[in-house]
């Protein structure tokens, strides 16, 4: 019955005759225009196993699980479920088999209630009251507490994920696919999630856990399948590997560490934010309340927090896209900036890079040269008497491309034609080569491959070493811990007291991200108890 066209990976696969695999993939191949997303991938998941699927952004993990869940069809190869060959034609068919999936980007309806959201995900028609009872039953069983009548838009990200998990669990799945489940959770929420997953696995449910966070995989999974560029490169036991060895398999090369000089001293305060208040924008917005911090020359200041806690309004207030009522709330080198528009702030050396590359930081349909004019025109004198000096813009774009090893045809290529990582390198380079006194960046390595991320991190460290003050807003706590000198946590529009990263306590940061304000020592104990309680439940 073995297909003959399968490659060497299949031949190397150990098939255990005694324990039938719940899910087996043989030579799965998926082609998109110009890319081979999955190239002859074969592996299997055993009943009750927590199996990691590891790889960088664009390695083909999501494509692979979308085929298992029936969202896409493979171009080649076969999927076996409990040893039987089958085609999963759509998600409904997958759920019928007992495959559940929790997506990275939640497929929730913000304006509807928890109950309505779950009802939408159910294939069988169950009366609302019965469904509510079943939901409450699953919630108590796994310690996932939620009020079924809350509107989703009022819930935190962790709570929203619980809806997705409850929705999947209601179908009594035999295989649960978790796509990057922890990317938006606080460390404590991650712990709670792991408790649920271990309990599920102990009851015989297989779990396919997709992630690129190696310490989590080491803590949770017993098998890891590593993908790189659509190919399966290794299958290993993460408990016996080091994070570094798995990372190197994942990126296919040696891992570069950030070169940071130890024992650096910081200069004078360059960016001072004092009592910054911004009213909330619209119904679902977050107001900034009394934000104060300062960044010295040579210092990288990290702002951690779960998405939607005021990071966007903060970036807009710092960049000058939103003018601040109190002009002196933001000062650079002693000069008040709050009342200045973005253009003036840039001229005075306060640069910023927003989170969204396409359409905010860069215009996709403009060339790279034209994109440099947008932020560098005043500081580098690219406009004379209302006319753009195209030569100057092209030269500068060329410099950025060369200095930051951007893979692009040249200054005339369209920004939209670059890959995410390359465009991000270009945008960062565009600001850094202007030698700003203050640089504010949001999510500098969001959706960027590890190679480009390392280059971007290094360039920020180098800019700080040259005497600039840098603010990095990120949801990736690992990134902030390795990159920044000082760290503060934003939660519901308030910024915590800054702490030096070298003596930061990860548990305390997690609690701050989860919204514990005030005297941390008093409430930490309380919440730890609550967590311990949740673990027992």
């Amino acid at each position: 019955m073995r297909p003959t066209h399968l490659g060497p990976i299949y031949r190397g696969l150990q098939l255990d005759a005694k324990v039938n695999a719940r899910l087996s993939l043989f030579g799965i191949t998926k082609r998109f225009p110009g890319v081979l997303a999955n190239d002859n991938v074969s592996f299997e998941v055993k009943p009750g196993a927590i199996h990691a699927l590891l790889g960088e952004n664009g390695a083909g993990k999501s494509t692979l699980v979308k085929m298992i869940y029936g969202i896409m069809q493979p171009d080649g190869g076969e999927i076996r479920w409990n040893g039987e060959r089958m085609t999963v034609s759509n998600p409904k068919a997958a759920r019928k088999l007992g495959i559940g999936m929790v997506f990275q980007h939640f497929s929730l309806f913000e304006a509807l209630t928890v109950l309505e959201n779950i009802a939408l995900g159910m294939d069988a028609k169950i009366p609302a009251r019965d469904l509510e009872n079943r939901i409450r039953q699953v919630m108590t069983q796994y310690g996932l507490m939620l009020d079924p009548h809350r509107i989703v838009s009022t819930l935190s990200v962790g709570e929203r994920q619980r809806i997705e998990i409850v929705r999947a669990l209601l179908l009594n799945p035999k295989l649960l696919i978790m796509d990057e489940p922890t990317s938006v959770l606080t460390p404590q929420e991650v712990e709670q999630l792991f408790v649920v997953l271990r309990k599920l696995a102990a009851e015989g449910c297989s779990i396919l856990y997709i992630s690129h966070k190696l310490h989590e995989i080491k803590a949770l999974c017993e098998t890891a399948t590593i993908l790189r560029g659509g190919k399966l490169v290794d299958t290993c036991d993460p408990r016996t590997e080091t994070s570094r060895s798995m990372a190197e398999k994942m990126i296919g090369g040696g891992l570069k560490d950030i070169k940071k000089v130890d024992g650096r001293t910081f200069g004078a305060e360059r960016l001072v934010v004092r009592g910054l208040n911004v009213p909330k924008d619209g119904h679902f917005g977050v107001a900034l309340k009394d934000i104060s911090f300062s960044v010295r020359a040579g210092e990288i200041f990290g702002i951690a927090g779960v998405a939607g806690n005021g990071q966007n309004p903060l970036l807009l207030a710092l960049s000058g896209e939103e003018i601040v009522a109190e002009g002196s709330a933001i000062a650079v080198d002693g000069e008040a900036m709050g009342q200045l528009a973005a253009k003036k702030r840039r001229l005075k050396g306060m640069a910023s890079v927003p989170e969204e590359r396409n359409g905010h930081a860069a215009v996709p349909d403009f060339t790279l040269a034209e994109n440099t004019v947008l932020t560098a025109r005043d500081r580098l004198g690219m406009v004379n008497g209302g006319l753009i000096n195209e030569g100057k813009a092209r030269t500068y774009a060329g410099e950025v491309i060369a200095a930051f090893a951007v893979k692009a045809q040249g200054p005339r290529s369209l920004a939209g034609s670059l890959s995410g990582g390359n465009l991000q390198k270009f945008i960062m380079g565009r600001e850094i080569l202007q030698k700003p006194s203050v640089l504010v960046v949001s999510q500098p390595t969001w959706g960027v491959d590890a190679g480009a991320a390392a280059a971007i991190h290094q360039s920020l460290v180098d800019l700080a070493a040259a005497g600039s003050a840098i603010v990095v807003i990120s949801q990736d706590l690992d990134e902030l811990l390795s990159l920044s000198d000082t760290l503060a946590v934003i939660n519901e529009g308030r910024l915590s007291r800054p702490m030096a990263v070298k003596d930061a306590d990860i548990e305390q940061i997690g609690l701050l991200m989860g919204g514990i304000h005030g005297d941390p020592t008093a409430e930490v104990g309380h919440l730890s108890e609550e967590l311990a309680h949740a673990h027992q439940a």
């Binding site: 998600p91 939640f106 497929s107 309806f109 913000e110 304006a111 509807l112 009802a119 939408l120 924008d281």
Partner: protein, 307 residues
């Protein structure tokens, strides 16, 4: 002011409000599914001429109303074919549908100019329908009662049925609805067809009840008021009914001002009143609530599933 005047006034307001109430209810469902159909005016005119023509040929106003609904639904489905099948721009396609409906109805209507159709007979005993007092409850065309019933039906459908929940979900987050396994295009197509049928029946009210004869462009821009009404009502059918009667009151003012020879302000001002109010109401609403948080999140956005 005597009681007869008040009853006459109420009946005018209810009558004049009915077309925008019907068209607004249809558009409410369409927008809840995430589609913005600016072709309401066009579909109303298609319904107006179809209802009139069918009544002329069959002699039955009941069949005429069915014909109007079918014609409006066909107009909507034509729109749906472009915006759902070909992902064309919804605003441009909707405007094109209005122009198309105006033109086609005028063309077909050429041979019906000057003809008169039999009006609906009352569905209640004539003693009730003609009673000087009770006619304020029983004296309307069946379409008026149909519109009122539909207010409750639409509210119940959206709030309490599973199909209504799916429709709201499609309008709220089409990609999620698709990933769960619902047919976004199918749901939207049905919603658009329903919206077209309601607009068509609303249009037929002009040609079959208000003036039982055909005139070019006889809906006079009421389709646009119906569109504004949906926003005004915050996408809730109960508030839509209240809004429709409020606009009806404004439109009735024009008639009464004209009849009373009210000359402080020119009659053109009263005629423009509902349209001015539309602008004012929309401006006030957008000032109060910048994000328009009640609006379906996917309103007007084409559905392009990730492959």
């Amino acid at each position: 002011m005597d009681i007869n005047f008040i009853i006459a006034a109420i009946m005018t307001v209810v009558g004049i409000s009915t077309p925008i109430l019907l068209a607004g209810l249809g558009e409410l469902v369409v927008e809840k599914a995430g589609v913005l159909n600016l072709g309401v005016e066009g579909m109303m005119l298609l319904g107006a001429i179809a209802g009139f023509a069918v009544t002329v040929y069959t002699g039955s106003p009941w069949l005429g109303v069915v014909g109007a609904g079918v014609a409006g639904a066909l107009g909507g489905m034509f729109f749906g074919l472009f915006v759902l099948g070909l992902n064309s721009n919804q605003v441009a396609t909707g405007l094109a549908l209005t122009i198309f409906g105006t033109g086609l109805s005028s063309l077909i209507g050429l041979s019906f100019v000057g003809r008169i159709v039999a009006p609906f007979s009352s569905i209640f005993p004539p003693e009730l329908a003609r009673d000087p007092l009770l006619k304020v409850i029983f004296g309307y065309s069946p379409i008026v009662y149909f519109a009122l019933i539909m207010v409750a039906v639409v509210a119940w459908f959206l709030k309490s049925t599973r199909a209504g929940l799916i429709l709201r979900a499609v309008g709220e987050n089409d990609l999620s609805a698709h990933s769960i396994g619902y047919s976004v295009v199918g749901v939207r197509f049905l919603a658009i067809a329903f919206g077209g049928a309601m607009a068509g029946i609303g249009g037929a009210y002009f040609s079959m009840v208000i003036t039982p004869m055909w005139a070019e462009r006889m809906t006079a821009g009421r389709g646009w008021i119906a569109l504004a009404l949906v926003v005004f009502a915050g996408w809730r059918s109960g508030r839509l009914a209240v809004g429709a009667y409020f606009f009806g009151l404004l439109m009735a003012l024009e008639l009464y001002a004209k009849a009373a020879g009210f000359s402080i302000l020119p009659s053109q001002f009263w005629a423009a009143m509902p349209y001015l109010m539309t602008v004012v109401v929309l401006a006030l609403i957008s000032m109060r609530d910048r994000a328009g948080s009640n609006a379906p999140a996917c309103l007007g956005r084409p559905f392009i599933p990730a492959t």
